[in-house]
């Protein structure tokens, strides 16, 4: 399963690292949503797909087309932002209060 989204007019496909996936809990889709929230800019439309994308012919011409299951990346929780070193402890403390 991959996450696909539009990156400046070209389809980008995000592959999760197996070791990171192992650290997460929940269903595979829940894990991928977490990764999308973590690694995509907030507000990025994306889809989770198991489509075979192994034929890379004309790779740079691939385009992302929104489907019925499109999602949008969201902000991580403050705890996760701190955990992933996206914010400092001081920023966490300032926002948690």
């Amino acid at each position: 399963m991959k996450i696909i989204y539009n990156n400046n007019g070209t389809l980008a496909q995000l592959t999760s690292a197996p070791k990171f996936l192992e650290q997460l809990t929940g269903t595979l889709e829940e894990k991928l949503i977490h990764i999308a929230n973590k690694d995509l800019p907030t507000g990025t439309p994306y889809e989770i797909t198991d489509e075979d994308l192994s034929d890379r012919s004309f790779r740079n011409a691939w385009e992302y087309v929104a489907g019925a299951d499109e999602k949008t990346s969201e902000d991580l929780s403050l705890d996760d932002q701190l955990k992933y070193n996206h914010i400092t402890q001081e920023e966490y403390d300032a926002n948690a209060g």
């Binding site: 996450i3 990156n7 070209t10 980008a12 496909q13 995000l14 592959t15 999760s16 690292a17 197996p18 070791k19 990171f20 650290q23 990764i35 973590k38 690694d39 075979d52 994308l53 192994s54 890379r56 790779r59 740079n60 691939w62 955990k83 992933y84 070193n85 996206h86």
Partner: protein, 260 residues
């Protein structure tokens, strides 16, 4: 055997010197009489002292010839020698013979601390009694090495935080179905197009002044380069470039990162 009990008071129930083998195996030292210092072998004679348990004839042993103390050991090889079983070692290095822990299988020392405190082994000298140390921080389950500033922290998720350990690395196949073979501190790999990839860190870098190195297979002057000039604390871009073809997917692409 000389036994000297200093201070006033009484010793009841024991007989010293009268037994044929000089062994005291029963009796009670009256507790209200032993509130002063007690000295065994006050004359400093070269005689041994030992205490037996039900299974260990040398549960506590003081070697008269050198003052070395053994616990479960009748020939202590250093100042304190704690032994559960014989390892077959007959001597220890003179530079490390203050404390010896010996067994014939796995052996170890346990430091027990408060659940949010540190357990520490410290190194010092006459000018600094805390020059260097290894400590385990139970608050965040981190193992820390310092001399005296912190140099290496091993986090509870397996990362090594230092100037000399890789902050992240990745080995992936950029052909066909793009796949990560193995990685460290990488949460994902994004295929942006032919030969164009973004590596995202699990734990972000502290700043963008980190160093990236990369290599790929191929025999046509292929190179792994940074796509663009800026690095992000949360990710970086790799571009696999071939002299004749331009951007190219490669089967073996490896990259590693050092920095804060």
């Amino acid at each position: 055997m000389a036994i000297v009990i200093n201070g006033s008071g009484t010793v009841t129930g024991i007989s010293v010197g009268g037994l044929p083998d000089d062994i005291v195996d029963s009796g009670t030292l009256a507790s209200d009489a032993l509130d002063s210092a007690v000295t065994i072998n006050d004359s400093g004679a070269d005689v041994d002292f030992r205490v037996e348990s039900d299974t260990d004839a040398y549960a506590l042993f003081v070697q008269g010839s050198d003052g070395n103390v053994g616990f479960g050991e009748d020939t202590p090889l250093g100042k304190i020698h704690i032994k559960t079983a014989d390892s077959g070692t007959s001597a220890v290095h003179a530079n490390a013979n203050e404390l010896i822990v010996e067994g014939n299988a796995h052996s170890g020392i346990t430091i027990l601390s408060g659940s949010t405190s540190n357990g520490t082994i410290a190194f010092g000298h006459s000018g600094n009694n805390f020059q260097s140390y290894m400590t385990f921080n139970h608050n965040d389950d981190a193992l820390i090495f310092a001399n005296p500033s912190e140099r290496l922290r091993i986090t509870n998720d397996g990362r090594g935080l230092s100037q000399f350990t890789a902050k992240a690395w990745i080995n992936f196949n950029g052909t066909g179905t793009v796949a990560i073979r193995d990685s460290h501190n990488c949460s994902s790999l994004t295929d942006n197009g032919t030969g164009d990839y973004t590596v995202s860190f699990t734990n972000s870098m502290a700043n963008v002044n980190y160093a990236v190195s990369g290599i790929c297979n191929g025999a046509n002057y292929e190179a792994v380069t940074l796509n663009g000039t800026t690095l992000s604390t949360s990710s970086y871009n790799l571009w696999v470039w071939s002299k004749d073809v331009g951007a190219q997917d490669m089967e073996q692409i490896h990259s590693l990162v050092f920095g804060d």
